[in-house]
């Protein structure tokens, strides 16, 4: 067993162990409502973190519009589910198609956005992706789509201008979003999507294409000189990242009854929040992203006991975690008092 495989197995192991523990606790009835409610969001945000890590860590480009892709995935999948809500289709089949559709449309947008955007580098790219995320949110907020016996109606002004027949149903209602989405997201499906996401990312990174992407990240000129098609590989990574964000969006939208594109859930604050997960977990490190995203999703809820000081303490915890992970002094201290070394010493003594 090589080091790579062992490392990957630990990642899968952590997730499967987490799933097993939660399912056991849930089955024995000792899991609180709060944690039951948090299981799907934890999956959603870990998928987001892993997918952004592909762009930021592997591709090496700073993207600040990741919530935009999540928004596309959420709305496309929710729209699909709403259209087929009363068709008598099996809900699991419908949900799987919805996730795939959300991922696909996000990937298409990823390519579309990627073509102009990936010609930019560094800060410029970050700003353009930031703008993209905001554009998506604002477009969704003026989008009205209704369905009646004559087919679909689309408008960018208000529901009145849809010219629907009397028994038609308005599905997307601008700022009011989509209401009545079936609650199809379950922890099991969330974990399966998360495992798939991680499998895709890990296999991509260790593939020929992945190595090409990392070569571009490390030295663009050198990569170009050995004949790597820069645009192709960049787009590939960007589209994969976008499609996984779309799948996360589908999980998100089917976890709540209503979906609205607000600054809070799909604005740049959310994009930055996901970037925080990635940076805190370690750029380019998949397992780190998973752990950081899970902890930071659960933490604000655990701090409810502090009431008004909750967000203050949350920010302090963020700073402390960042220092612990990355500050030179903390790294030194960790080296000095690491468990491995302590155990190592003990073992040596025993041997002696």
């Amino acid at each position: 067993m090589n080091k790579q495989l062992k490392d990957n197995l630990i990642t899968y192991g952590i997730i499967i162990a987490f799933y097993a523990i939660m399912q056991t606790l849930s089955a024995t009835g000792s899991l609180s409502s709060l944690f039951k409610g948090l299981l799907v969001p934890v999956c959603v945000y870990t998928i987001m973190a892993v997918s952004l890590n592909l762009t930021v860590g592997i591709l090496g480009e700073l993207s600040l519009g990741h919530a935009g892709f999540m928004c596309i995935g959420a709305f496309v999948s929710a729209f699909f589910s709403m259209c087929l809500k009363n068709s008598g289709m099996n809900s699991i089949v419908r949900f799987i198609i919805a996730i795939l559709l959300g991922a696909l449309v996000s990937a298409v947008f990823g390519v579309l956005i990627g073509i102009p955007v990936l010609r930019l580098r560094g800060d410029y790219l970050a700003i353009v992706t930031l703008a993209f995320g905001e554009i998506i949110k604002n477009i969704v907020n003026v989008l009205y789509i209704g369905k009646d016996e004559n087919g679909m109606h689309l408008s960018f002004t208000d529901t009145a201008s849809l010219n629907m027949s009397a028994d038609g149903e308005v599905i997307v209602k601008g700022p009011q979003g989509i209401t009545g989405i079936p609650n199809d997201s379950t922890f099991t499906i969330g974990i399966i999507v998360l495992l798939l996401t991680i499998a895709i990312v890990i296999n991509f990174v260790n593939s020929r294409s992945g190595r090409a992407v990392m070569a571009i990240r490390d030295n663009r000129i050198a990569a170009e000189s050995v004949g790597i098609n820069i645009s192709k590989y960049k787009l590939m990574a960007f589209a994969i990242s976008a499609s996984m964000a779309g799948a996360a969006g589908a999980l998100y939208s089917h976890n709540l009854n209503n979906l609205m594109a607000q600054p809070k859930n799909f604005g740049y604050n959310m994009s930055i929040m996901i970037l925080v997960y990635v940076v805190l977990g370690g750029i380019g490190r998949i397992r780190g992203s998973i752990i950081a995203a899970a902890i930071l999703t659960v933490l604000p809820e655990l701090l409810r006991g502090f009431s008004d000081y909750r967000m203050l303490i949350y920010s302090i915890v963020l700073i402390v975690m960042m220092l612990f992970n990355c500050a030179p002094a903390a790294l030194e201290l960790r080296e000095k008092y690491s468990l491995k070394r302590l155990f190592g010493k003990k073992l040596k003594k025993e041997e002696a």
């Binding site: 009145a160 809820e301 655990l302 491995k340």
Partner: protein
Amino acid sequence: MKKLVSLLLAVAMVATLLVGCGNAQTTTTDANASADGQAVFKIGGIGPVTGAAAVYGNAVKNGAQIAVDEINAAGGINGVQVEYDFQDDECDAEKSVNAYNTLKDWGMQMLVGSTTSGCCVAVAAKSAEDNMFQVTPSGSSVDCINGNDNVYQVCFTDPNQGAASADYIADNAIASKVAVIYDSSDVYSSGIYEKFSAEATQKGLEIVAAEAFTADNKTDFTTQLQKAKDGGAELVFLPIYYTEATLILKQADTIGFDTKFFGCDGLDGILAVENFDVALAEDVMLLTPFAADATDDMTKNFVAKYTESYGETPNQFAADAYDAVYAIKAAAEKAGISADMSISDMCEALKGAITEISLDGLTGVGMTWNAEGEVNKDPKAVVIKNGAYVAM
């Protein structure tokens, strides 16, 4: 080394999860008993107390607190004391569901919330699953009560406000040419606008300009006002919140657009805005169920208590929350529920009772509820004269 740290963090994560579970268990075992072992009713509240919409959440939190304190001082509901806990949702639907679950772990039996429409729709879906009795003070979207027979509203629904405004303007012949400036990115505002425009057309009002703005672009309204002016609007309808309304009034004054302004309950609070010349709000009409300077004893008492405790004048959200708690009390007394009933049984009993009560509250006299969850009360129109509300 780093692997170890990440492992440690994973262990820490699982540990925190378990700690969380442990806490939950201890609270659920004595769900409806207070610290000293006596039975209590547990009422939960949800709203944003941090972030941009914190004003509304805080008002609801404080308004309900005053009602709970009053009820406890007077001996409680059916002789049982009331415990009250309020959780923050940051105005985000997902966080609101988390807050709901936190309250459920605490042992909540009845819910006053959520404060904002979007959050309320998400929470209502969950409370309907659990069959928990829910009264929302200010979640005005129709979707809050649609299909959820356990949810009741204290405020008017958005379409009702839109229709009432159009009717009021048409029936009292205030104007015939109307312009609307609304926030197309806001549920409340667009909800009112849609119904208003439909009702206005039926009533023969002419809408000369319907101008939208969004949450990202709400500082300069000169274009919208200019269009309204060019269209010859005799009245500008503002189904928006007061912060933007103050800017609109200022800018209308600057471009010399002298017209009538008409708003809904979102305008309540406009007189308390800092650095705003209240003279500009002279003759502004608004449809609001609550006015803090009303002279009846109930309002006076509430405003005095609120000002004393929280150092500010209560707005309509606080009054709605106060009424919501009293609506629960009235229904609970009518149904004769006791604290040891299961949440679902309690909800069934309260559902039957709330349609039979008639409540005299801060936001209306003789409020009644129908089985759909809509409130029935008279909209009150007021006009601002010399910096104070005067009934029309």
